[in-house]
Amino acid sequence: MSAVAVLGTGLHPWGKWGRPFLEYGVAAAREALRDAGLEWTDVQYVVGADTIRNGYPGFVSGASYARELGWNGARVASCYAACASGAQALDIARARILAGLCDVALVIGADASAKGFFRPVGGDRPDDPDWLRFRLLGATNPAYFALYARRRMALYGSTPADFAAVKVKNALAGSLNPMARYRKPVTAEEVLASPMVADPLRLMDICATSDGGAAVVLASESYARRRGTGFVRLAAVSTVTPVFPNTVLELPDFATDSTAAVPAPERPFRAAIAHAAYEEAGTGPEDLSLAEVYDLSTALELDWMEDIGLCPPGEADKLLRDGRTALGGSLPVNPSGGLASFGEAIPAQALAQLVELTNQLRGRAGSRQVPGARVALAANQGLFGHGSAIVATT
């Protein structure tokens, strides 16, 4: 599979700024264009990763951004895939480039989020499981993260102290990242003393919801070569769906699939997402210099480490405890500081992961730099069977 070039990246700092999402997206887009050394009028294709909590402009975000930047006649697409929206937008842009239908694409995602728990979009919708799980069970997103965390404790003997150690590691990395929302190192004692939200997860184990914006300029390899400025390769984008029967309880479901008639697949969903990316890029976990994974909770980072093949199931805690996944370790996980330091700005998050990968692979991650980074993977999972993984290389 041929790659496309990442020519430029941009972020609007994560926070709780209380301004329209378009502002964050446009700021990130201008930064990405500046970084690529291109003008907005050079962009032939603009793809927006949608936000569903900001009215109609959010549902047609590609056009909203294009209008905000000034109509330039570029082709446009808008897409939503929950937490994987940004990766889906990348995949759409990449496909058009690889098909030879355009040379330069701009991908943008941004969100402005409300305070507190994510709640379903308004209105009575008894046919929507995302509405029903709140109505019937009061099952919030952290409740699902907590079910995975407790399961991990029972299966592998992970402890709340292990979870706290993930937060300590990520907060330290985030303290070095000027784009992160939370930039204060924390101690394990502070994590373990924070209020319990969904047993066994405490407030500081769970990622917040944030405002933020991210943008990436993609180009064909031939176009990038003609410019002669060097570039990072986007070598794979995996957006596979689960394989029946999915035996892990996923948000926002009430139940898993049944194994009564068909046995469980070889790889559970999260592992399958990463596997498809490795396969497409012709790489494996042994090639990685670093990884960004979706730490919606501290415990989930440990699950992801196993899902992306850094170690067999049940051994992530040991890698963490040995310092292997910290900055300076042999394979840093979430060197950006992760969701623990950013909070989640849904349509921007998968793009922000690629921004970190790109910064690392270009050797410009500053005090967070992973020395000699060559191959990097980012992975996430959203609701309703959307998830994604990307591989980028030098």
């Binding site: 507190g116 019937l136 009061g138 099952a139 009430f254 139940a255």
Partner: protein, 135 residues
């Protein structure tokens, strides 16, 4: 009594509370919530789903609680008591089903422990299925 949702569970004086699932007449795949239309098994073209009561017992796959009142459309009791949730792997059919837990807190639960289906009211009245101590 009003049910918070129709057709997902039933209460009978003889056999107690059970969830209502569907079984594909083609391949035997069992589903909860009950499903209409196509079979979820991608290799099965079946569209004929028959309703069936699911096993009333299972083992805890995992559990948690909600220490803060969940947002609407959940109606939280006042004063608020943490809601306990359990995901329970049903005997025989290999499905894990999430539900509120009645009469047990997280400190009284363990992964692997046996629970039995019951029902209880939401704060605004209607009944929903719940997991309870196995009799």
């Amino acid at each position: 009594m009003t049910y918070a949702i129709d057709g997902w569970f039933a209460i009978s004086p003889q056999d107690g509370v059970h969830l209502i699932g569907t079984r594909c007449t083609g391949c035997g795949t069992v589903c909860f919530p009950p499903r209409r239309g196509s079979c979820p098994n991608p290799r099965c073209p079946g569209t004929d789903m028959e309703a069936l009561p699911l096993p009333r017992r299972g083992r805890v796959w995992s559990y948690t609680n909600a220490c803060y009142p969940p947002p609407e459309p959940y109606v939280a009791a006042r004063p608020y008591e943490p809601v306990t949730l359990a995901a329970v792997e049903l005997d025989e059919v290999g499905i894990v089903v999430l539900g509120q837990v009645k009469g047990l807190t997280v400190d009284q639960l363990e992964v692997g422990m046996e629970l039995e289906l019951t029902a209880g009211p939401l704060a605004d009245g209607p009944l929903v299925w719940m997991w309870g101590r196995a009799s």
